[in-house]
């Protein structure tokens, strides 16, 4: 049995602990008494995954088995999570490929001809053919690309349909092909408690008109946290939309969860607790760290971006979204949840090289903000790990780098909008509409590989709750210019960061370090 997560209290017997810092990592001697949240050990993966997928498909929850739903002449749409999941990308074969192949085999046997496969990329950039092939596999790709395998296009007016409004007046506008199908099969990977369930369709196949109802400052400030669906206003909105979708189309959702084997064996030490490192792990640490530092920036990024996680799959469940998702969430919690006693004055996070929006790309300052203040800060249940008015210390170099193809609107957002204000409400009311409807951004989103014009705003909103909650945000090793532009502070060392923080939290603050990745979600009591 794998060990549960726990909170380490740093004492004089504690070796220096690993902290991720962008495309690199370091060892840090944390102050005595610092609490360190460790995730549960990686759970064992399912041995016979194909058999487990077959079991799930043939024994779904709240719906007939898939073979009974497949009829000749029907319109079948298979929707799957895009490349923002999982992180880092999974070693092939991707679990989505395994599931999709089994679904298509059943469809072929049932004589279904009209099959369409759509990546639920929402306002994310389109996936390249190579990326699509990686996810669905060679056979599926050859059989369906390019006519019947592609990305969702949230700006293709002809292929969007408004299916109605929720009782809160939220417009639900989704992909027409999916909504007019006889059956939608959704294949997802639930990496964090945020994704999956009602979010899959209502976000993945939505348009800006629909997304603005939950991707806004008000909702995100009331999502505490957005990784805890019952307490997340954003998820309440998804739920309402999901009910409407459920009335409109039959959805057969197949949800999968992965374990915490985040790094390949060559970097196995990143998956282990530091005092359990053997000589080989220590040698690997020195070799990888030195090699990483000596590499030119481009080569370093290429190597990090080609890192593939040897994830094991911890659960495959199928059925209607509302009934499958609780099981999926339980699986996620089993792998990630660690109980923490009380909030701290200072929270420390080591930000890694990857977030959902820079796969095969560059992590720009906005994405760093969204990863730190959005994703990592919100990896909690009940209460944030840091108290109201406390300080968050992030480790990241925050370089002033943007991917011109993938993130064009980010560049303008950073250079023109953030210089005006960093207040999410101001940004939302004054500038969002303009970016969302800019025809050039729309063009780049549809025809190039750019994130939608409004996406940087969403990234900023992602951190809205943290911005409101925190008294101070400090980046250790951060670029002074970029951090200052975003309204944060930069420090060269942890000691300096704590010195800066002493103005808000005093000289002897309580400190909690969230030791992630591998992902850990704090259940703060």
């Amino acid at each position: 049995m794998s060990r549960p997560g726990f909170v380490l209290s740093v004492d004089e017997r504690t070796p220096p602990l690993l902290v991720h810092q962008g495309e690199g990592f370091r060892l840090e001697r944390l102050p005595l008494g610092t609490n360190v949240i460790y995730p549960p050990d990686s759970l064992p993966g399912i041995r016979n995954l194909d058999a487990e997928i077959a079991r799930a498909i043939h024994n779904p929850i709240g719906i007939e088995p898939l073979p009974e739903l497949l009829k000749p002449g029907m319109r079948l749409t298979v929707v799957f999570d895009d490349l923002s999941l999982p992180l880092p990308p999974m070693q092939t074969p991707d679990v989505r490929q395994r599931v999709v192949e089994q679904v298509l085999e059943l469809a072929a046997r049932a004589g279904v001809d009209d099959v369409e496969l759509i990546a639920a990329n929402s306002l994310h950039r389109r996936m390249t053919p190579a990326e699509l092939k990686r996810v669905v596999g060679e056979r599926v790709f050859r059989s369906f690309f390019p006519d019947h395998l592609g990305n969702h296009d949230a700006e293709d007016r002809d292929n969007l349909v408004e299916i109605g409004k929720t009782e809160h007046g939220e417009v639900v506008e989704l992909n027409r092909r999916a909504m007019e199908s006889d059956l939608v099969v959704y294949v997802n990977i639930t990496l964090t408690a945020m994704s999956g369930g009602p979010k899959s369709l209502s976000v993945g196949l939505a348009s800006y008109r629909s997304l603005r109802h939950h991707h806004n400052v008000h909702t995100l400030r009331h999502s505490r946290s957005f990784n805890d669906p019952p307490n997340s206003a954003m998820h309440h909105s998804y739920e309402r939309m999901k009910d409407l979708i459920g009335e409109h189309v039959k959805v057969f959702q197949i949800e999968t969860t992965v374990n915490n084997d985040t790094f390949p064996s060559s970097m196995g030490f990143l998956n282990k607790r530091e005092w359990e490192w053997n000589l080989a792990d220590q040698a690997a640490y020195v070799a990888v760290k030195r090699g990483n530092e000596l590499l030119p920036a481009r080569a370093r990024r290429k190597i990090w971006q080609s890192t593939l996680a040897p994830y094991g799959v911890t659960g495959v469940n199928a059925g209607v979204p509302s009934q499958v998702h609780p099981i999926t969430l339980a699986n996620v919690h089993r792998q990630q949840l660690t109980e923490v006693d009380g909030q701290a004055d200072v929270a420390i996070f080591g930000l890694p090289y990857i977030c959902p929006y820079n796969v095969n790309s560059i992590m720009n300052p906005i994405l760093v903000m969204s990863l730190g203040l959005g994703y990592f800060f919100n990896l909690y249940k009940n209460k944030p790990i840091v108290r109201q008015g406390g300080t968050a210390i992030f480790y990241h170099p925050v370089p002033h780098e943007f991917h011109p193809v993938h993130h064009p609107s980010y560049i303008d957002f950073f250079d023109e909008i953030l210089t005006e204000s960093t207040d999410p409400v101001v940004l939302e009311t004054k500038y969002e509409e303009q970016f969302a409807t800019d025809p050039w951004y729309v063009q780049l989103y549809r025809k190039s590989y750019a994130y939608h014009g409004v996406h940087p705003f969403y990234m900023w909103y992602w951190g809205a709750h943290a911005l409101e909650h925190l008294g101070e945000v400090i980046f250790v090793g951060g670029n002074r210019k970029t951090t200052a532009r975003m309204g944060f502070k930069a420090a060269s060392t942890l000691a300096d960061a704590l010195e800066i923080a002493s103005h808000t939290v005093g000289r002897s603050p309580t400190i909690t370090y969230q030791h992630t990745p591998p992902l850990v979600m704090a259940d703060v009591r």
Binding site: V7, V10, P15, L27, V286, K289
Partner: protein, 310 residues
């Protein structure tokens, strides 16, 4: 950061094998399954006995006798004794067992098993193997939180003599403490004779915390007393009292002489350890540092003085 600093940081708090100390809060809670009984039967097989005999006579006794100067008295009391007996001794040093094993008559030494604390001698495999090989130890539960099947009864029935230290642990200050009841219960129930042994000077020679005797071959007195045979109808408490008195008397022979110790016993002025120190009891041992002071006093050298020195 240079590679040297990097490695220095990485090596911080790790030993040469790269193993780190485990933070206290990360120390795993180990459930005591009670099944961790270390097998010692092999030490009582014929090859085990031969090996032990060679090690005891060829290594243990020569080393002990070369590092200390034991004076053994009272072995003649064992002459007419047959069959399994239980040796009981005060315990103040790791030297106690080698001294007794090296001084008992050979017919007993060849069939002697030593009771050793399960939580100390049997918690690490190497220590368990070494002590079973050299002393034919068997695990004894001192605290009774785990009910380990006791081997003592079985061994007595098989004809093995036992060496037990009824105090249950080595003395902190060299003074004898009260005996636990287990040994007395065993002897009463099986009707086996008890041979009291007192060891003086072992604490001074090698107290707790030392793993080699102090230099200068200190004198150690090993005194055997007359066997105590449980009489009909005697309870274990009475026997325990007799054992304790006998060992205390042998112990004070060093200071009072044989007859003086007998008189002190008769007059009830022997310094007897009790579980509760009552205010009125006589010969209360001195408190605190004076106990250690007394027990580390070198024994008087009773060798004949040389008449001529030059």
């Amino acid at each position: 950061m240079g590679i040297r600093d990097e490695i220095q940081l990485l090596r911080h708090g790790r030993d040469w094998r790269g193993r780190s100390t485990v933070p206290r809060s990360a120390d795993p809670y180990v459930l005591d399954d009670g099944e961790r009984e270390f097998p010692t039967d092999w030490a009582r097989t014929r090859p085990g006995r031969v090996a032990r005999s060679v090690l005891q006579r060829g290594l243990l006794k020569p080393v002990t006798w070369s590092q200390t100067r034991p004076v053994v008295e009272g072995v003649e009391y064992l002459e007419n004794l047959r069959g399994p007996v239980v040796f009981v001794a005060n315990h103040s040093s790791h030297l106690d067992a080698p001294l007794i094993v090296g001084s008992v008559p050979r017919r007993f030494a060849d069939k002697l098993a030593v009771g050793a604390a399960a939580d100390y001698f049997f918690d690490a495999r190497w220590r368990a193997v070494a002590s079973a090989l050299f002393f034919n130890t068997f695990p004894v539960e001192r605290h009774g939180q785990r009910r380990l099947r006791s081997l003592a009864v079985e061994l007595l029935d098989e004809g093995w003599s036992l060496l037990l230290f009824p105090e249950g642990t080595r003395s902190e200050d060299g003074w004898m403490s009260a005996f636990k009841s287990g040994t007395a219960q065993l002897c009463v129930s099986r009707g086996v004779p008890v041979v009291p042994i007192a060891i003086r000077g072992a604490y001074a020679a090698m107290p707790r915390g030392r793993n080699w005797p102090v230099p200068g071959r200190p004198r150690i007195a090993v005194r055997y007393g007359r066997p105590l045979i449980p009489v009909e109808g005697e309870g274990f408490r009475e026997l325990r009292e007799r054992m304790m008195r006998a060992v205390a008397r042998l112990n004070s022979e060093e200071d009072l002489g044989w007859y003086g110790a007998l008189r002190a016993d008769a007059d009830d002025t022997l310094p007897l350890p009790t579980r509760r120190q009552t205010a009125g009891s006589q010969a209360v041992p001195p408190p605190g540092w004076r106990r250690i002071w007394e027990s580390t006093r070198p024994l008087e050298d009773r060798r004949r003085r040389r008449v001529w020195t030059w």
